[in-house]
Amino acid sequence: MTGHDVNYDTGPDMGHDTGHHAVPLRINLLVWAALMALTAITVGVTSFDFGFLNVVVALTVATTKAGLVILWFMHLRYEGRVIRLMVFTAFVILAIAIGFTFFDVAYR
């Protein structure tokens, strides 16, 4: 981001909420079905004991679900570069905050 007209892809659109095309019903329902299926998987899988892997599996499933919600329900898939970059930055910072704390707690 050294500064070249980063937001030009959004264009000036004052006056109307000329967003993007409405997400088709089919896609919304598909996403919902996938979320339900993932919920079923993550609940079902707890009856097996993989030790620490359980946490990994649970978080992977959760992150997949989160991805679905962000990309489709929250329309991030349809947003311009600026917003996508911003979302990315925010999650990077969160990851740094949690990750770097482990330089301490994991080595204490």
């Binding site: 500064g3 980063v6 937001n7 910072i93 905050a97 704390t101 330089f103 301490d104 707690v105």
Partner: protein, 541 residues
């Protein structure tokens, strides 16, 4: 008032067809009025904070008890820290000058969310009032230091609950300002105002905005946790309940280290505006300065644990965070070098804002370079929590942000008021304050190296000399600052009227009348050149 100010009512006057009065200010959604509200509140809180600092110095003039007991002293430095950090320096330049000038500098009519803007001022006032309430209610003024470290803050019976709620609200206010600026800079730049034509002040506010948005919530949850710890008995930091007090420090500094860049970046932006104007020459390395603001903002979020080298955290963490701390120093170094080079082969006109800018560079360099001593693990062990740290942060905050703020006041004064202060007195007050500042804080480095811990109301006799000199310095500094504030005050009432562009600057705010009219521009401006292109620009007064 200047000649062309008569065409429009300026923003001090009531809008045509409306009544004036106090309500037209405190419910205004005009960014300039909101900025002025912030400016006056911040200056008032600054005076309060300074007075508290002054009292701290009086107590420390000699060992033993001089003018107050330990409990009062502990409350005093806590309050001094809280007022200065949360009520003065964090809002200071962005909320005051950023609000007034960011929209004009990009050719916009206002910020993106004017109502959120006034709401954030109201939050600020609420926070300030609560902070004052915490002093006089409950079982005494908070005595934890501005860092609110647990377990002490969880067990002390002083009025910490109210104080942390105040901090939470102030944090919210700061978030709204940052959010507003980021959106404004993305959406409301005038035609032709590309990112590479953005004044560096705006760039620094953009970087600051990101820190405000991404770091402040962590402070929010941290103080909420203190509140939960005290009120609900949730023992998340209480070792007897399985908690870990060191985690509090992580959370606190995850915000508060980036916060020091919330403080300094806008001041750096001001310096980047002032220097080219008075050197009559484009700023040296525009892109590097803009980029280094973003780099500081990002890298600043990687180093928080350098405040915790002796907290009991792991040695691995000490190594990583010490290393990264040194990395963060690089973008600051780049800025300093670029500023100095901006003066090279200029045609320098020496005016009060330039003096403040030069003082800034000198004092900030001292503060920053001593930051290296603190960032280096082995040496920090010795000087951590001593007056060396106190000296470091007064040099960067007061020498940096403070002098940057004074620079901004002197630079934009004629724009805001349409008048000019007495420049000779301004120069003298800068000099006196500068000298006093160094007498006040330099001895602190020395007693810090000798082992004088901070937050001590009483000290061993061997540190007496340093403390005494330091207290003397605070008097000189006080004289300088009182002179400065008096001079500005007098300038507002009786200063000589000036035109649009007394310094001959090239950014957009100097194209509009002084003081600016309500809607800033008659017609949306079209930008055709960079912010530091002085060809053909002449000072008009």
């Amino acid at each position: 008032m200047s000649a062309d100010a008569h065409d429009h009512p300026n923003f001090f006057q009531p809008q045509p067809g409306t009544k004036g009065g106090i309500a037209s200010w405190i419910f205004s959604t005009d960014h300039k009025r909101i900025g002025m509200l912030y400016l006056y509140c911040i200056v008032a809180m600054f005076l309060v904070g300074l007075t508290l600092g002054f009292l701290i110095r009086l107590e420390l003039i000699a060992p033993g008890r001089t003018i107050m007991g330990p409990q009062t002293y502990n409350a005093l430095f806590t309050l001094h820290g809280v007022v200065m950090i949360f009520l003065v320096v964090i809002p200071s330049i962005p909320a005051a000058f950023g609000n007034i000038f960011l929209p004009i500098q990009i050719g916009a009519e206002d910020v993106s969310f004017p109502r959120l803007n006034i709401f954030s001022w109201w939050l600020y006032v609420t926070g300030a009032v609560l902070a004052v309430v915490s002093l006089v209610t409950g079982k005494g003024a908070p005595d934890t230091g501005w860092t609110f470290y647990v377990p002490f803050s969880a067990v002390t019976t002083t009025n910490v609950d109210v104080a942390v709620v105040a901090v939470f609200i102030l944090g919210f206010s700061s978030i709204l300002t940052g959010l507003n600026f980021i959106t404004t800079l993305h959406r409301l730049r005038a035609p032709g105002m590309t990112w590479t034509r953005l004044p560096l002040f705006c760039w620094s506010l953009y970087a600051t905005g990101w820190i405000q948005v991404l770091a402040t919530p962590v402070l929010g949850i941290t103080v909420l946790l203190i509140f939960a710890e005290r009120v609900l008995g949730v023992g998340l930091f209480d070792p007897s309940r399985g908690g870990d007090p060191i985690l509090y420090q992580h959370l606190f500094w995850i915000y508060s280290h980036p916060a020091v860049y919330i403080m300094i970046l806008p001041a750096m932006g001001v310096i980047s505006e002032i220097l080219p104007v008075f050197a009559r020459k484009p700023i040296f390395g525009y892109k590097m300065i803009a980029f280094s603001s973003l780099a500081i903002a990002f890298a600043g979020s990687l180093v928080w644990a350098h405040h915790m080298f002796v907290s009991g955290m792991s040695d691995t963490a000490v190594m990583v965070f010490s290393f990264l701390t040194f990395v963060v120093a690089i973008p600051s170094a780049i800025k300093v070098f670029n500023w100095v080079s901006t003066l090279y082969k200029g045609s320098i006109r020496v005016e009060p804002p330039l003096w403040y800018a030069l003082a800034f560079i000198f004092l900030f360099s001292i503060g920053g370079l001593t930051g290296l001593v603190l960032g280096s693990a082995g040496t920090d062990v010795h000087v951590h929590d001593t007056y060396f740290v106190v000296a470091h942060f007064h040099y960067v905050i007061f020498g940096g942000l403070g002098f940057g703020l004074f620079g901004a006041m002197h630079y934009w004064f004629p724009k805001v008021y349409g008048r000019m202060y007495d420049k000779r007195i301004a120069n003298w007050s800068c000099l006196i304050a500068f000298v006093g500042f160094n007498i006040l804080y330099f001895p602190m480095f020395i007693i810090g190296l000798q082992g004088m811990p901070r937050r001590y109301y009483d000290y061993l006799p061997k540190y007496a000399e340093g403390h005494f000199i330091s207290t003397m310095g605070s008097w000189v500094l006080a004289a300088g600052l009182l002179l400065m504030f008096w001079n500005l005050w007098r300038g507002i009432r009786h200063g000589k009227p000036v035109g649009r562009n007394p310094w001959g600057a090239a950014t957009l705010e100097w194209m509009v009348p002084s003081p600016p009219p309500h809607h800033n521009f008659d017609a949306e401006p079209v930008v055709t050149h960079g912010p530091y292109d002085y060809t053909g620009v002449k000072p008009d007064a």
